[in-house]
Amino acid sequence: MDIEKTQQFLIQTETAAQEILIIKDELVALDFRRQKTREAFRALKNDMIPGEKAWMSVGNMFVKTRTLKAQNLLEREMKELDKDISDLHNKLKEQVKMLRDLEGKPELKGFDLQPITKEADIIMKALSK
């Protein structure tokens, strides 16, 4: 009977841990797309003359569009990607909480707080001196 319980426990923790690894990989992939989109946006901004048409790859297709339209498209995509990455980060925090709960580890406190980066920076700087 103990073996069954251990098995159950292992299955649960392993699934939870696997979820976390999947999310981390997704984050890497999204960041990759984000960087590439950013590069494309910069390239359009720097090298192209507005009014001219430019070639852009959308998935598997190559499309020739006006530079302005292309820039708008890229900007929208970057915003979406930022939002997706943010959502994934929150999901990651939840999954880590679940895993720590399953493993019986104490909760990591303080990560659901709203960040106050400016004041925290001042305080920590003053204290570390």
């Binding site: 960041d31 990759f32 910069r42 707080l113």
Partner: protein, 433 residues
């Protein structure tokens, strides 16, 4: 979905700083197992099983935040392990819960008043947890390309290629960024971090893969692994600072220096009020959490009446730590009872004093102090020089303490108007009539 309780393995802490060896430095915890049963010899503690089990329970309550604003008294002969238990609790609580330890005699100082010293001790035991969040770009530099304009008067432009084990990308650099890079002397093969919000660049070291680039490297060179994962990461760090630290930082411009020299002096109450309201604001906006800690006062018999009444009041505050007191005296007269009488210009007879002390144990200290004044008046009325037991008795009968007043009110509440019990009865009476 019952989870198997995992065995809590004791954490091994890295001692990278040299600890001062003192009487209690061998204590690493309370030495309890998972069921809060004390082991005979564990974590530096030997014996005192019941006391350790009790402190284990108190510790759990502290961890769950269910005991803030309450006081615990540890009493015993010298050498029975009171301070050791307090040390054990401090170690067991860990770094995140503020633990302030002080001796009762420390509050008597020429530089600050007793209440100020106590207030500071209290505020050193209340922590505020805050979080900072930054987006950083961390990667190994593949190439830095800076183009000076041909005319010599334009701004420089540049490109920075960063990579991690999973990806690589190119960044366009503006003038300010180029200057920072040049100042940091970032070259190909260095692993750097760029703070996205501030634009600050910090070098983490040199990549291992580029270790063979040069035959000789300077003594300061540190080699790190090429970063993994995303280039742009989100970094979240939580800090726990004590209210006292925030007080000091805000009370003067050079405040942080005062934290180390210990010469904080008296902090104005306006500063404290400001800080309290700011922290309350943060709490409401979800930006901070209060972490009530532990204030351990050893040799608490050195404190006098004023200190105790102050402690009483301070514990009723909504942000109060747990107060653990230790003393090696049994039931003694609280220091200052004699002086309080002298202050109030009252002379007390020996047995009157005894009665008063016993009263204060049954009721409250504050009540006993007030009684002195009243008894003094009564004694003066009958033209006596000293307060006698009968004066105290009379004062006791004239002025009720809290328990007696509540009892009295309960007994006669039906004689008051708007008494709810009465109305119900009369309603019932009306229905049946």
């Amino acid at each position: 979905m019952a989870a198997i309780p995992s065995v809590k393995v004791a954490e091994v802490r890295e001692f990278s700083r040299i600890e001062r060896i003192g009487t209690h430095s061998h204590i690493r915890g309370l030495g309890l197992d998972d069921a809060l049963e004390p082991r005979e010899v564990s974590q530096g503690m030997v014996g005192q099983l019941t006391a350790r089990r009790a402190s284990g329970v108190v510790l759990e309550m502290i961890r769950e935040g269910k005991i803030a604003g309450r006081a615990v008294l540890i009493a015993g002969q010298p050498g029975t392990g009171k301070t050791a238990i307090a040390m054990g609790m401090a170690q067991a609580l860990g770094d995140n819960t503020p633990f302030t330890s002080m001796a009762g005699s420390e509050i008597y100082s020429l530089e600050m008043s007793k209440t100020e010293a106590l207030t500071q001790a209290f505020r050193k035991s209340i922590g505020v947890r805050i979080k900072e969040e930054t987006e950083i770009i961390e990667g190994e530099v593949v190439e830095v390309q800076i183009d000076r304009p041909a005319t010599g008067t334009g701004a420089k432009v540049g490109k920075l290629t960063l990579k991690t084990t999973d990806m690589e990308t190119v960044y366009d650099l503006g003038n300010k960024m180029i200057e920072s890079l040049i100042k940091e002397k970032a070259q190909a093969g260095d692993v750097i971090t760029i703070d996205k919000a501030t634009g600050k660049i910090s070098k983490l070291g040199r990549s291992f893969t580029r270790a063979r680039d040069y035959d000789a490297t300077g003594p300061q060179t540190r080699f790190v692994q090429c970063p993994e994962g995303e280039l742009q990461k989100r970094k979240e760090v939580t800090h726990t600072v004590t209210l006292h630290e925030i007080d000091v930082i805000n009370s003067r411009t050079q405040g942080f220096l005062a934290l180390f020299s210990g010469d904080t002096g008296e902090i104005k109450s306006e500063v404290r009020d400001q800080i309290n309201s700011k922290v309350a604001e943060w709490r409401e906006e979800g930006k901070a959490e209060i972490v009530p800690g532990v204030l351990f006062i050893d040799e608490v018999h050195m404190l006098d009446m004023e200190c105790f009444s102050f402690l009483n009041r301070a514990l009723e505050d909504d942000m109060a730590p747990v107060l653990i007191m230790a003393t090696n005296r049994g039931i003694t007269k609280i220091r200052g009872t004699k002086y309080r009488c002298e202050e109030e210009d009252a002379e007390m007879q020996e047995d009157a004093l005894l009665v008063l002390t016993r009263l204060s144990m049954e009721t409250s200290l504050r009540y006993a102090i007030q009684l002195i004044t009243v008894a003094n008046l009564i004694a003066r009325k009958r033209k006596a020089m000293e307060i006698a037991v009968e004066d105290i008795k009379k004062a006791y009968s004239l002025f009720l303490d809290e328990t007696r007043s509540t009892q009295y009110l309960k007994d006669i509440q039906d004689e008051f108007m708007f008494n709810e019990e009465d109305e119900q009865q009369s309603e019932v009476a009306m229905e049946t009539a």
